[in-house]
Each structure stands twice: as C-alpha cells, then as structure tokens.
C-alpha cells in the first residue's frame, strides 16, 4: 500500500508533465491562420458576377461544371498574391485544369494592368468588388486557392501563397484522384 502511494506521487506529476508538454508542443506546430474550410464537400455558393476582361459576360457557378477547377482569390493590393503569381503562371500550363481567378475587392484597372505586366494564368476572372462572394466562400486572407471538382463541389482549400511544394503535396494527389472519378 505504502509503495503504491509513493509510486503514484512520482508517476502522476511525470505523466501530467508529459501530457502538458505534448499539447504545448502540438500547439507550437499549429498555424492559427490555417483554418479548415467549412465548405469542403459542399457546392460552390451561388453568385452572379461580371468577368474582368469581358465585362458583359456574367459568371455563375455553371462555369465549374465538367472541369477540375482551381479557384484562386487574388488582388493587386495583396503582396503575397504577387509572390504567388509566377507559380500560378507555371501551373496554368497544365491544360487539364481550369484556372479561374477571383479578383477580390480590387480596382479593375489596376487588375488589368497587373495581368498585362505579369502574365495571365486565368481562363476566366470573376470580379468581386464588394467581397460578398468571398464572404460566402469563407475567405479571410488573400491569396486563397480552392480546388473544385467536376460537379462544382469544393474539395480543398489552401490559405496563403501557393508554392510548388504545396502543390505537389496537397493538390496533385487530389487532382489525380479527381481525374479518375
């Protein structure tokens, strides 16, 4: 009986210490800005917005039907979008994927100038001046990138600039899986 109590006295703080250390260590590894999207597995919310380069053209979720789509939220005021842009230009050479841009709370003129200077990876660009569609998508920090399947369902969301490492690790396996479906 006495031995048991002594053992507990020694073991309990030790176990507690390791438990707390484990959770604190786990907490250090987490990026509080990487929140899971609430919309994974759901259809892209409804919208009806103009196209940046063809202003008379109205865009609706119809554009996602039948394509694997990368929806990239960007703006000229967003410095990280500029860093990300060359990566998008390279990735856009993959013709199996439809690249759609969402120009988020931006100046249309500035956006066009930016694309002229830096290249345009997008097949179509949705203009969201007011940021209302972005709110429906749960966007809180540009750049963000959504992977949308052939049925218009959101499969993955990445927050922050895309890199080739993230692409190879997170997007590429999902895309090969989608191509098989």
């Amino acid at each position: 009986m006495f031995n048991y109590a002594k053992l507990m006295k020694f073991l309990l703080p030790l176990v507690l210490f390791f438990l707390i250390s484990f959770f604190l260590w786990k907490g250090l590894q987490q990026d509080p800005h990487q929140l899971p999207s609430q919309l994974i597995g759901q259809k892209v919310p409804a919208f009806q917005l103009a196209e940046l380069l063809h202003e008379k053209q109205m865009m609706t979720p119809q554009i996602f039907q039948g394509h694997i789509t990368l929806l990239n939220i960007w703006a000229t005021w967003c410095a990280n979008c500029e860093t990300e842009h060359p990566v998008l230009n390279t990735l856009a050479q993959n013709k199996n994927i439809q690249f759609i841009g969402l120009n988020y709370k931006d100046d249309r003129k500035a956006a066009k100038l930016f694309l002229n200077a830096n290249g345009n990876p997008y097949q179509k660009i949705i203009v969201d001046d007011q940021g209302t569609f972005a709110i429906d998508l749960g966007v809180y920090g540009a750049p963000e990138t959504f992977l949308i399947d052939q049925q218009g369902i959101i499969r993955y969301r990445h927050i922050g600039p895309l890199t080739t490492t993230i692409w190879d690790k997170e997007f590429a396996p999902l895309i090969t899986q989608l191509e098989k479906e």
């Binding site: 509080p32 800005h33 929140l35 899971p36 609430q38 919309l39 709370k105 007011q130 940021g131 209302t132 709110i135 429906d136 998508l137 749960g138 809180y140 920090g141």
Partner: protein, 139 residues
C-alpha cells in the same frame, strides 16, 4: 487661465473614448443597436485573430460588420446571423465556443482539473490530520 487650459487638455484626453474602428450605422431602434454591439463584440476578426469585429480595422471586419448590419435591418435574429457566419468561417469565429464533441475537453477539463486538485488537497489534509493526531497521542 491656467485652470482653463488644464480643462481643455483634460477634455482632449477623453476624446479617445469616442474613437473606435466602427463606421456609422443607423438603427431603427435600440434593440437592433444592442444586437449589433453584442454580435460585433463577440465575434472574432479572422484577419487579426485576437481582436473582435467591433475593434478591428481590417477590411474583412468592415465587410462583416456591414453584412451583420444589413441582416439586422432585414430582421434576422442573433442566432440566425451567428449561424450565417459559422457556416462560412466555422466555430472559430465565435469567441465563446459552442458545446459539442470536439469542444468537450475544452469545456470540462478545467472542472476535471479542479476536482483533481481538490482530491489531492483532501488527501494531504487527511494525511496531516493523521500525523497530527499521532503527535497528539504521543504528547
């Protein structure tokens, strides 16, 4: 003269009370104003995550305040507006997390720890009583 100058300086100090990040919104009644204040003070700004929507100057916080304002005018309830935001941004937007399976530990761990501590305290007290009573009988 000096007194007056002090008064001016003093009054300037209180200006900051009226300064906050909010835009001017007009409400039909006090109830709506209260709902707006409650919601913006209890929802997290997702850009600067330790600020609430009322205090944040981030452009997303402004948009969300406008969205909340419009929904209040449309007659949506507090719960409906909260649901609208949670379905887009997740529970993380709430400063007071809801009670569900994933937050069970979060809600009850403090009480469990409290009970644990009380248990240890009781054990120690019991032991000391034992020692003390042993000493008493010795003396």
């Amino acid at each position: 003269m000096k007194f007056r100058l002090n008064l001016v300086i003093l009054s300037l100090c209180f200006w900051c009370i009226f300064a906050n990040a909010q835009d001017i919104y007009n409400f039909a009644n006090n109830e709506q104003q209260k709902t707006f204040n409650y919601l913006t003070e209890n929802l997290r700004c997702l850009v600067c995550q330790n600020q609430n929507l009322a205090d944040s100057n981030a452009s997303l916080a402004k948009d969300l305040r406008r969205q909340i304002y419009q929904q209040i005018l449309q007659g949506q309830s507090t719960a409906e507006i909260q649901h609208y935001l949670v379905s887009r941004y997740g529970d993380f937007i709430l400063f007071k997390p809801p009670l569900n399976i994933t937050t069970l530990v979060l809600w009850f761990a403090p009480f469990a720890l409290l009970l644990f501590g009380l248990g240890i305290l009781l054990l120690i007290i019991k032991k000391h009583r034992h020692i003390n009573s042993a000493k008493m009988t010795l003396s």
